[in-house]
């Protein structure tokens, strides 16, 4: 497997296409195709999503209360987020509200699930791009980090593991949970379970502080001007905020859609179709959500994009006025003073992700301290009926939208899903285009250059 030799077009064909397949160290499946012009400069790049499973279709006919245990399988990295959004949508259909303790337990498990995910992405998937000296692709991975820095590897492997085990101990399953149910939660938290989780949560918070210090010392200094420009585009942002004070929320909030200039609209979860449209391209199974509400259509043109907004960590920090926990708020202030609001550099997703890690750890402790968390009333009885419900939460990769209708038996008659990573389809394509045009000149590509293009994808953690 030789990296493309300089400037040679495959015989007989006029345009040369550089292919990166599969895009690696991401959770999903993607292929990058970069078309070069006759001078060997990147003319256009595309990120193709190569398959689809069809959840929107096969949910039809399923009893709605069973669906939250099916949609978890959309993603093994963020099943809790699908699980909760789905339950909220089913509750909308059936017209029921969960009791307060259930609302707390749901947020607790959701935020806890964010913790392991951020550790996974920063250290296991993206980390090798920053923690290892540039070089051979065969060593750019967590296995090599384990060999070179066993202490660091052990620490991150343990933290990710502990997060999963805390969820598992309390809720039975951490991957593909069943514990959130329409109407509430399947089991209450006992005082003992709460105390146990507290111990682990304090350790997680220590780790989050360590991770941020570590990154400030070892990773962010590598964000030189060229890296800050890598895949840089200017877009709007979508994320959830608290309806009262505009602070960061991962669930039970309103959606805020910010324009590139910083002004924004706020809307309830049910109103998403007024603000978000989905465009279809013939070369990817994924759709391309865009800000329909802005009224100027959809275009991924780098010079003149239309309707493009981003989600995931950077978006959430950009749209939120503040963060409700002290350590993360201090980090946000520093971040804003350095990069402004909204911050646009794609590499800043990594930085924002670690600030969110800190928030998640602080928030878990806050929730465990809430007096109602051990309340025994955890589920309202639900009665199947015809209705419609929309459930949104912030998944690690962005705003997750589950929208269902049910028939009179309470079975799904129609389902629409917009998953976190899908929102970023257009931005990822634009960032790859941008990186390819900046980096590929005169037909020269090598392994390291191609990896830099992939880094523009990895920042989004698709």
């Amino acid at each position: 497997m030789n990296p493309g030799s300089a400037g040679t077009a495959p015989n007989g064909t006029s345009a040369r296409e550089i292919v990166i397949q599969p895009v690696t160290r991401i959770e999903g499946h993607a292929r990058i195709g970069i078309r070069l012009d006759e001078n060997g400069n990147a003319a256009e790049a595309r990120v193709h999503i190569m398959s689809m499973r069809g959840f929107e279709k096969f949910l039809e006919g399923r009893p709605a209360e069973e669906v939250p245990g099916i949609v978890t399988r959309i993603c093994g990295v963020c099943p809790w987020h699908h699980h909760l959004a789905s339950n909220i949508a089913v509750e909308g259909c059936f017209g029921v509200q969960p009791p307060p303790a259930a609302v707390l337990l749901r947020e607790l498990t959701l935020v806890q699930a964010h913790i392991s995910d951020k550790v996974l992405h920063f250290f296991f998937l993206a980390g090798p791009d920053f923690l290892l000296e540039p070089g051979d692709r065969s060593v750019r991975n967590i296995m090599w980090i384990a060999r070179k820095s066993p202490e660091l590897a052990e620490k991150v492997i343990r933290m990710r593991y502990n997060g999963h085990m805390m969820l598992e101990k309390f809720a039975g399953r951490s991957i593909h949970p069943e514990a959130i149910v329409p109407g509430g939660f399947s089991k209450p938290m006992t005082a003992r379970e709460r105390d146990e989780m507290r111990v682990g949560a304090r350790e997680q918070l220590d780790f989050a502080r360590y991770a941020l210090d570590f990154a400030k010392e070892r990773v962010f200094p590598k964000f030189d001007p060229a890296t800050m420009e890598l895949g840089r585009i200017t877009t709007g942002f979508l994320g959830m905020v608290d309806p009262e004070d505009g602070s960061l929320r991962l669930t039970d909030g309103v959606l805020r859609l910010m324009r590139p200039g910083g002004s924004f609209h706020e809307f309830s979860q049910r109103e998403y179709t007024d603000f978000i449209g989905e465009h279809v391209e013939p070369w990817s199974y994924a759709k391309f959500p865009y800000a329909r509400g802005w009224g100027d259509g959809f275009s991924m043109d780098l010079e003149n994009p239309c309707g493009i907004y981003r989600t995931n960590s950077l978006a959430r920090l950009n749209v939120a006025d503040s963060i409700g926990t002290p350590l993360a708020q201090a980090e946000l202030s520093e971040f804003r003073s350095l990069f402004g609001r909204p911050a646009q550099s794609t590499m800043l997703y990594h930085w924002a992700r670690l600030i969110e890690l800190l928030y998640a750890c602080e928030r878990v402790i806050e929730l465990l301290d809430h007096p109602d968390i051990t309340d025994q009333r955890i589920r309202s009885e639900v009665t199947p009926r015809a209705g419609r419900g929309v459930g949104c939460v912030e998944a690690p990769r962005g705003t997750l939208i589950h929208d269902y209708s049910t028939d009179e038996n309470g079975c799904i008659s129609r389902a629409n899903l917009i998953v976190g990573t899908t929102h970023n389809q257009a931005p990822i394509n634009m960032s790859v285009n941008r990186a390819a045009r900046d980096l590929i000149k005169d037909g020269r590509v090598d392994d390291e250059l191609l990896n830099r293009i992939e880094m523009a994808v990895r920042a989004y953690d698709p």
Binding site: P3, Q21, I49, S51, I157, R173, V181, H279, V280, W283
Partner: protein, 312 residues
């Protein structure tokens, strides 16, 4: 020489790989005994050089190939075949690979219905024709691995318990094949069973089971005997791991949905469960969606294609 391993994800969710990482310290120790030569999730494995993008997929040779996910499109089929050719032993890793898993629920519908819904009638979508450039065509349904290639070993579970993964790896590294016990989830379940005849009707899971949260699980009445559709009796054991825990869903006080697939390969979770219920005199007429009992094992032509009116 360490044992070499290649790992591919087909039509799955990566949860099986996360479960592998959930072996925790075991994962680190494992790295001393194996060499991972191909695993796109964690390392920069490419199918071909940047100028070679083509039908030919290159995967390094290895002793053991782990494949998670089912087969949904032509590229995944090619990947599965290439893995078969390059790996000494092929392991169907997880329920998707072993039985089709949740993605096989699409076998109830045809691709035309799916595309019409997804690209033309979904709420927020600007209607368009279905993608067909560069993306590999979908197969007409979702297949379990052994419908398309020869499979040497199965590690069921959605996802498999990390203990089962670690055990399987131990055996594979020693050159043996993993074993799957012929036991049901009920065999590993501590819930209290009082016997036949107590339930007449199965009800939907609309309110929680009866139990006392502070009390051990052994004092909770069996969920099936409480009238909930727990398909533990027809589902393979394994999800409790080795530490003596209860089956995972039972720990969460919810019924087993069958994610480990049938107790015996070739079994049919739907028919087996209906038989079990009937022999206990339990009425299932009011269950709204009996096919859901095959939600994890719908490949191998288990799920019939349904003729449905298109969604409005």
């Amino acid at each position: 020489m360490p044992v070499t391993i290649a790992a591919e994800v087909l039509s799955g969710c990566t949860g099986c790989e996360i479960a592998l990482l959930n072996t925790g310290d075991g994962f680190l120790k494992l790295l001393d005994r194996i060499e991972i030569v191909h695993m796109p999730l964690l390392m920069d494995s490419k199918y071909f050089g940047p100028d070679e993008g083509s039908e030919e997929i290159d995967i390094p040779r290895s002793d053991i190939g782990f494949i998670s996910g089912s087969i949904r499109n032509r590229e995944q089929l090619l990947l599965a075949r290439t893995m078969r050719e390059r790996c000494g032993v092929i392991v169907a890793f997880g329920t998707c690979a072993a039985y089709g898993g949740i993605p096989a629920l699409i076998n109830l519908f045809d691709n035309k219905d799916l595309f019409r819904r997804y690209y033309r009638t979904a709420e927020a979508t600007d209607s368009a024709s279905s993608p067909c450039e560069v993306v590999p065509p979908l197969l007409d349904r979702t297949f379990a691995l052994d419908e398309k290639i020869e499979v040497d070993a199965f590690i069921p579970g959605c996802p498999p318990h990390p203990d089962s993964i670690a055990d399987a790896l131990d055996r594979l590294i020693e050159g043996r094949l993993p074993e799957t016990p012929v036991q049901s989830v009920c065999d590993a379940c501590p819930a209290k069973r009082e016997g036949k005849g107590t339930v007449q009707k199965i009800k939907r899971f609309l309110k929680n089971a009866r139990y006392q949260p502070e009390k051990p699980l052994g004092e909770m009445r069996c969920l099936l005997e409480q009238g909930l559709l727990c398909i533990g009796p027809v589902t393979q054991a394994g999800c409790s791991g080795k530490s003596g825990c209860a089956p995972r869903c039972i720990q969460a006080r919810v019924p087993c949905r069958g994610c480990y697939g049938p107790v015996r390969r070739g079994g049919n979770q739907l028919l087996d469960m209906l038989n079990a219920l009937a022999s206990n005199g339990i009425d299932t007429k009011n269950l709204p969606d009996r096919l859901s009992m095959l939600r994890f094992s719908g490949a191998h032509s288990m799920l019939p294609r349904q003729v449905r009116k298109p969604s409005s």
